[in-house]
């Protein structure tokens, strides 16, 4: 079968090349511009995008640069943008993504580019390092034998250990796209791997560290990383697990926790969400700066006639809802 592969070409040192130049949409408007070059390849129906790139590199243009090693989603080398979405080239079938036989590949605009499809992973590894991703052994370390832990506790970690550091989650992370300081889904999934390891001695300190700004509360809960991860790591779900554990461990002096508490209080009280009190309570009643920052928006909404009723009515038979809260606990599970 004939396939058309359009490759975003780039060279950090040269910047020249052939083909049409395109720029990126916000929030990637500052990403370096690639030149798009088109190749035709003849490959079977079940071929992967990486097969096409290797075929081009080997027989059409040796200057095409792409990282790859295992070709089977183990080494994590070939994360890239395929038709504008982050994927691993080695397990993306051409036929599943081709539009009229054409597939566009490029280095993700959310990341610094080195050359063609090779992007600079330095920021990725810096964040990995920042979560202190190693076991801090719980004492006493058993002499000459293993820690005794239930298999379920180990199996619980396989999901995170399955991460191949391909960076696909980070390259399409919404929060990272506008805030490069965010630790991001991959590093935080790794963080959970050590938080939830029963052999680790620093669980409490870790939870505190990850609750800092640019940590777990900077996840916008959009499921993008869950949808994109090729290995089922579901980073966002690991982030939410850290949030829950951090709150349980007492790290509550942050707007994330206050928001959750206020949310739960409102629903427990009236059955519905009271937007009027949610925001101020989330910031912390004495966080004057944040309160003031949100005032113009509140004023705009008030002017438009959009503010919720000042008297937050309870839903009829709210006792049913209160009974549920009583049985399964409120904000913190019983």
């Amino acid at each position: 079968m004939k396939w058309t592969i359009e490759v975003g070409r780039y060279d950090r040192t040269a910047g020249d090349g052939r083909g049409e130049v395109r720029s990126y949409p916000p929030p990637y408007e500052n990403a370096p511009q690639r030149r798009y070059q088109t190749f035709e390849v003849d490959l079977p129906d079940h071929a992967m995008v990486l097969d096409a790139l290797i075929a081009i590199r080997e027989y059409q243009d040796e200057s095409l640069v792409v990282r790859c090693a295992c070709r089977s989603a183990i080494c994590g080398s070939c994360g890239m943008w395929i038709n504008g979405a982050a994927r691993l080239a080695c397990i993306t079938k051409l036929r599943e993504v081709a539009r009229d036989g054409k597939v566009t590949v490029e280095a993700p605009p959310s990341m610094p580019v080195v050359r063609d499809l090779v992007w600079d992973m330095t920021p990725f590894w810096q964040k990995n390092r920042a979560v202190l991703p190693w076991l801090e052994n719980k004492e006493p370390v058993p002499q000459g034998e293993e820690y005794r832990v239930p298999n379920a506790a180990m199996e619980n970690l396989i999901q995170e250990v399955s991460c191949i550091s391909c960076g696909v989650c980070v390259m399409d992370c919404e929060s990272f796209a506008v805030n490069p300081d965010f630790l991001g889904p991959a590093a935080l999934a790794k963080a959970y791997r050590y938080v939830a390891d029963p052999r680790d001695a620093k669980t409490h300190e870790r939870l505190g560290r990850y609750s800092q700004p640019n940590g777990v509360w900077d996840c916008t809960h959009c499921y993008e990383c869950v949808a994109k991860c090729p290995k089922g790591v579901a980073p966002m779900e690991q982030i939410l697990k850290i949030r829950k554990l951090a709150v349980e461990a007492g790290y509550r002096n942050n707007s994330g926790t206050r928001h959750a508490v206020a949310f739960a209080e409102s629903v427990a009280h009236s059955g519905r969400l009271n937007e009027l009190t949610l925001m101020p309570k989330s910031f912390g009643l004495f966080n004057i700066r944040a309160q003031l920052q949100s005032l113009p928006a509140a004023f705009n909404m008030l002017r438009a006639g959009k503010l919720p009723p000042l008297l937050h009515p309870k839903v009829p038979h709210v006792e049913r809802i209160k009974a549920i809260f009583k049985k399964v606990g409120g904000m913190f599970s019983s």
Partner: protein
């Protein structure tokens, strides 16, 4: 067609225009809305994060209420849809969870059986009412209006909760509706991205940057207006837009329509009837393109 109607907290709170617009278009579509006045907030993913069992129980109650009415449940909020779909996904697959939740509900007089489907208005329009029928109801074609769809995360992800594995076309329904009312859909990267609302209280700057960037992109692609099936997205994209513009340091001024407002205009309602005069971002310029006034 009778549906158990779950308006969600926001349409009864900070986005009353959504509730009003829905009430206007329902009879036109032949939808008899049986509102679930007694149902609780879905928890918007916030409650499930800290106490999943609580969220499952609250949503099972809502679903059970719809079951008791003998009707499917209709939402008008991507977030409510996502949370209810997610709850149903787990309640269907996890028998032990279902039993625990039903024990929790026992005193309320409700039992969750899983007989009612949960559908957002957007899905209902395409899959149940039918696009042909909706097309026949259009009295005012919004020709020339360039409309950028903005889905909201929770009606798209996670795919397995929302039936997108079986029906991937659900990710294109907004465009279909936009075309059907005679307007032109605007294609842009941000349409399936996050509006930033869930982070508004945690990191206001980042949240508004997300909103601002998507708005600027849609605007740069020529959008006169965005349409969203999610009032939470509306809160960030419309309610916070002046602040978002300050954060991204560029004027925006692109109004955001709720899905029922877009349909309402096509069905011949006047903008004021749909409370299009109660938005933070003025809708005047967009409406003028289709020769309407607020």
């Amino acid at each position: 067609m009778k549906v158990a109607f779950w308006p969600g907290c926001v349409s009864k709170g900070a986005c009353p225009e959504l509730y009003v617009a829905m009430q206007k278009i329902a009879p036109v579509l032949g939808l008899e809305l049986m509102e679930l006045y007694e149902a609780p907030c879905t928890g918007a993913g916030v409650l499930s994060e800290q106490n999943p069992e609580l969220a499952y129980s609250l949503n099972a109650l809502t679903l059970a209420m719809a079951e008791q009415m003998g009707a499917d449940l209709m939402t008008i909020c991507s977030t409510c849809q996502g949370v209810l779909s997610g709850a149903q996904y787990h309640l269907t697959r996890d028998e032990a969870l279902r039993e625990r939740v039903n024990r929790t509900l026992a005193d309320s007089g409700f039992q969750y059986r899983g007989t009612a489907r949960v559908k957002h208005l957007l899905w209902l329009l395409v899959e149940d009412v039918g696009l042909d029928r909706v097309a026949g109801l259009v009295k005012r074609r919004l020709s020339g209006l360039r409309v950028a769809p903005f889905y909201g995360c929770y009606i798209l992800r996670p795919e397995e909760h929302l039936g997108l594995r079986e029906k991937p076309e659900r990710a294109t329904y907004l465009e279909k509706i936009i075309e059907l009312v005679g307007a032109t859909p605007v294609e842009y990267h941000g349409k399936s991205k996050c509006c930033g609302f869930p982070m508004l209280t945690f990191n206001r700057e980042v949240s508004l940057k997300m909103a601002g960037k998507h708005l600027l992109e849609a605007k740069s692609k020529g959008a006169d207006v965005l349409v969203t099936p999610c009032p939470l997205c509306h809160l960030n994209l419309d309610g916070q837009q002046p602040d978002a513009a300050r954060v991204v340091k560029e004027p925006i001024g692109t109004p955001i329509f709720h899905l029922p407002q877009l349909l309402g205009l096509a069905f011949g309602f006047e903008p004021a009837e749909l409370r299009l005069n109660h938005h933070v971002v003025n809708t005047r310029l967009a409406l003028e393109k289709v020769e309407l006034k607020v």
